[in-house]
């Protein structure tokens, strides 16, 4: 049967659309890479690329407490006071759970230049049973450069494997919302940190690209109440039950680092009042983490109550600039130990 003119035109149109759909995959990766430095979207991706380009000697791995609470320049300065010239950074993302830590450690250990020390941070909510890890986004962001071993690990770690696979098969699926968010942030001139803590246009220490969330603002009573309530309800601290099986991920991360010849430390970052939401549960958490440190023979620096100066906090879970600078010598002590 002879094809009509309209069929031929439709076939050409369809071919163009297929080409666009195929090209959209790599183009979305390129676009994301260009937009990342200008946006808070794709934080794990950004930090990982930044680290891979210039690996450091000491890496703090953890969540937003580590991201905000670790001023690399201040820790390096404190180390210099001790006669050490180590470079320091943090690979940390808000809400990270232990699976993300393991994934980050894997990536760091598979670079040609290894760090001298990895400091794994613990937060109580990572081990609260009512909360389930949802690491897909971060696991996906850590994918490049492609590494089959990493992809296998991420697939094993992710409880939402289908979502992770979709992100790998069609990168535009995962890139599109990141690009849209970056576009919206640029269009509305939002500072990139807006989505992490809600407000901060204050300058911070470190390279401009890494000025994520350190703020000078003190903790308001409303913020204190709201964040503590969120930890009680959303993070399940009110009904804390220790998720012991998650310790396996921490064990695996330690073994991974040691196999690569890298030393490991554990640290618990300061909090204000979170430990008093459910004192019994928190004590149980501390006991279990201490036991793990003893079992693995990893020194644990429990700093959760080291700073109870209210003026050093932005909210009960995060330090402000003053608190971050006050913490730096303690972190240097951990790094130097």
């Amino acid at each position: 049967m002879e094809r009509t003119d309209s069929q031929r035109r439709a076939a050409a149109t369809l071919a163009v659309l297929v080409v666009i759909a195929v090209l959209a995959q790599p183009l979305s990766v390129v676009a994301r890479e260009r937009l990342l430095p200008k946006s808070g979207a794709g934080l794990a991706d950004y930090l990982w690329r930044d680290y891979a380009a210039a690996p450091r000697d000491v890496v703090f791995v953890g969540d937003s407490r580590v991201l905000i609470g670790t001023d690399s320049a201040a820790v390096e300065a404190a180390l210099r006071m001790r006669g050490l010239s180590d470079t320091v950074t943090r690979l940390a993302v808000p809400g990270a759970d232990v699976t993300i830590q393991q994934a980050i450690v894997y990536r760091v250990m598979h670079l040609s230049k290894k760090p001298r020390l990895v400091v794994l941070s613990f937060s109580e909510y990572m081990y609260t049973r009512p909360t389930a890890p949802d690491p897909t986004g971060y696991l996906w962001q850590l994918t490049e450069p492609y590494d089959l071993g990493y992809m296998r690990l991420a697939y094993d770690l992710d409880p939402n494997r289908g979502r992770l696979l979709r992100g790998w098969i069609a990168p535009i699926v995962a890139n599109a919302p990141v690009l849209a968010r970056a576009g919206r942030e640029q269009a509305s001139s939002l500072p990139p940190v807006r989505w992490i803590l809600g407000d901060s246009s204050a300058p911070s220490a470190g390279p401009a690209e890494l000025q994520f969330a350190v703020t000078d603002a003190p903790m308001s009573p409303e913020k204190e109440v709201a964040v503590l309530e969120s930890y009680r309800q959303d993070f399940g601290l009110g009904s804390f039950r220790f998720a012991a099986q998650r310790l396996e991920w921490a064990r695996a991360a330690v073994h991974m680092a040691r196999e690569a010849g890298v030393d490991v430390r554990f640290v618990i970052y300061p909090v204000y009042g979170i430990d008093r939401i459910n004192p019994t549960g928190y004590a149980d958490y501390l006991d279990r983490v201490t036991a793990l440190a003893r079992e693995l023979q990893v020194p644990l620096a429990d700093l959760h109550a080291v700073d109870q100066n209210r003026d050093h906090y932005f909210d009960p879970s995060h330090l402000n600039r003053e608190g971050v600078l006050a913490l730096a010598p303690r972190l240097a002590e951990v790094a130097a130990s």
Binding site: S6, Q7, R9, A10, A11, A12, T13, L14, A15, V16, L17, I20, G162, R163, R166, G167, I169, A170, V173, A174, A176, P177, L179, A180, G183, R184
Partner: protein, 464 residues
């Protein structure tokens, strides 16, 4: 699986490619498996319900075809099975609540266990398709003998969850003679999908403006109430027609055409006109399987108007197991009855008053808008509160920000602009089609991605 989810973005191309790669005789079976996977992705256990109802209707359909004298009994049995499933999953809770309320009004003790059944997705839609099938067999049509072809009729994933409500004669004809790939149909389908995604993204941007007022209408002032109501009118149209566009587009990529469901309903100039443009597959179903069996217009003016109101009230109840849906439907029934009476008088030359088209449009659209409030509220009491705010205003908290107001206005102008102007433009892109149409479709998708909110909303009609 949501049409606007990343899972569907992988699922659809995979199914399309595999469908066309397979020999034609295997395609219906493959589409059936894919459709069941689509359903099970939400809740695998409810797949048993759809398969069970399909089996029951298939067997009863064959029995209807084989046994002329007992046809009526078989029809009643099928209706009992289909409506029984709907009653259990959708209406038992309402019946229980109503019984408890009635008992408390009468001062009787009522201590019934609270029923919390999950409504299986799409149940209302495929139940209506089964009823249409059984009634048409009773009226003399031939049953579908091939079980795969029959099972694909309700399960077909592009229309499975929220319609359009198909007619089996049209659909089975397409399944029986497998379609050849048509680039024209596929490109039109992709354009429909792009348009649907764009509509859905805009609908989602309106959701917060609607939600903030409808969550606490007592605190709304006059402007809040009207803006939220107009925003909801836009949201439900863009959401549901967007869903339908994606469904129809998906079907076209597989070589099938399914009925249109919307034809610019907000341009309607009468109640009748509105229902010929809004959820067309439902209104034609209600006409054929409820209004006409009730007597239609065959028993005088009063009975006709009663039939209209009963049909629409039941149509309202189909939308949701709550009294505010019934009142919403009955309200449309009254509007249709008034419309009919007006036309009758005009036909008989009795007291005809010429109404300018613009005034007729304004009257019906205002009616539709006011009735939408009863569709969106959680209870009749809340609906009454909102109506008082719409009429008399209230203390006012100014829930709706100026930017939201401007956005609702922009969407409103954009929608009417598009519906009034686009059909008048004569597209003559000829040789440039392979450049301009992909650009248009890509722009729609990019705009949808850009507008997509973090909290993507479920399609409103999923709950029915």
């Amino acid at each position: 699986m949501l049409f606007n989810s990343d899972a569907y973005l992988i699922f659809l191309p995979t199914v399309v490619v595999l469908t066309w790669a397979l020999p034609a005789r295997f395609r219906p079976l493959f589409l059936l498996v894919a459709s069941y996977f689509f359903y099970a992705y939400w809740n695998a256990s409810f797949l048993l319900l759809i398969i069970g109802l399909t089996a029951v209707n298939y067997v009863i359909g064959l029995l209807q075809g084989a046994s002329l004298p007992r046809r009526r009994s078989w029809l009643l049995l099928a209706l009992a099975a289909d409506l029984g499933a709907l009653a259990i999953f959708k209406y038992l809770g309402l019946m229980e609540q109503s019984a408890v309320r009635l008992a408390s009004i009468l001062g009787l003790p009522a201590d019934l266990p609270a029923l919390r059944l999950v409504l299986p997705l799409g149940l209302s839609f495929f139940t209506f398709e089964f009823i249409h099938y059984q009634v048409d067999l009773y009226r003399g049509d031939k049953p579908v003998r091939d079980p795969v072809r029959f099972a694909l009729f309700p399960a077909f994933f592009p229309t499975q969850i929220a319609g359009p409500i198909k007619r089996y004669q049209d659909f089975d004809r397409q399944v029986a003679s497998p379609p050849r790939f048509s680039a024209v149909l596929a490109v039109d389908g992709l354009q429909l999908i792009g348009r649907g995604l764009f509509k859905k993204a805009i609908a989602d941007t309106l959701a917060p403006t609607v939600a903030v007022v409808f969550a606490a209408p007592a605190g709304a002032h006059l402007i809040d109430a009207w803006v939220a109501l107009i925003a909801f009118g836009l949201q439900i149209y863009l959401d549901f027609s967007g869903y339908t566009d994606i469904g129809r587009g998906s079907a076209q990529l597989l070589g099938y055409t399914v009925p249109e469901n919307f034809r610019s309903p907000y341009l309607a100039t009468s109640a009748r006109d509105f229902w010929r443009r809004w959820h067309m597959s439902l209104s034609s179903w209600l006409r054929d399987y409820l209004y006409i069996p009730l007597g239609g217009s065959r028993h005088g003016a009063t009975r006709t108007q009663l039939n209209l109101m009963v049909t629409m009230a039941l149509g309202g109840l189909w939308h949701g197991a709550a009294w505010h849906f019934v009142v919403w439907g009955a309200g449309h029934g009254v509007a249709l009855a008034v419309n009919r009476e007006w036309q009758e008088r005009a036909t008989r030359g009795l007291g005809r008053i010429a109404i300018p088209a613009l005034a007729a449009w304004a009257a019906i659209q205002l009616t539709v808008l006011l009735l939408w409030s009863l569709f969106r509220v959680a209870s009749l009491e809340q609906g009454l509160t909102l109506w008082t705010r719409l009429i008399a205003g209230g203390p006012g908290n100014a829930f709706v920000h100026r930017a939201d107001l401007a956005w609702v206005g922009l969407v409103l102008v954009g929608l009417f602009g598009a519906q009034l102007l686009l059909p008048r433009l004569r597209w003559n892109i000829g040789r440039a089609e392979h450049v301009l149409r992909p650009a248009y479709i890509t722009a729609l998708v990019l705009a949808a991605v850009y507008l997509a909110t973090n909290a993507t909303q479920r399609f409103i009609y999923f709950q029915f």
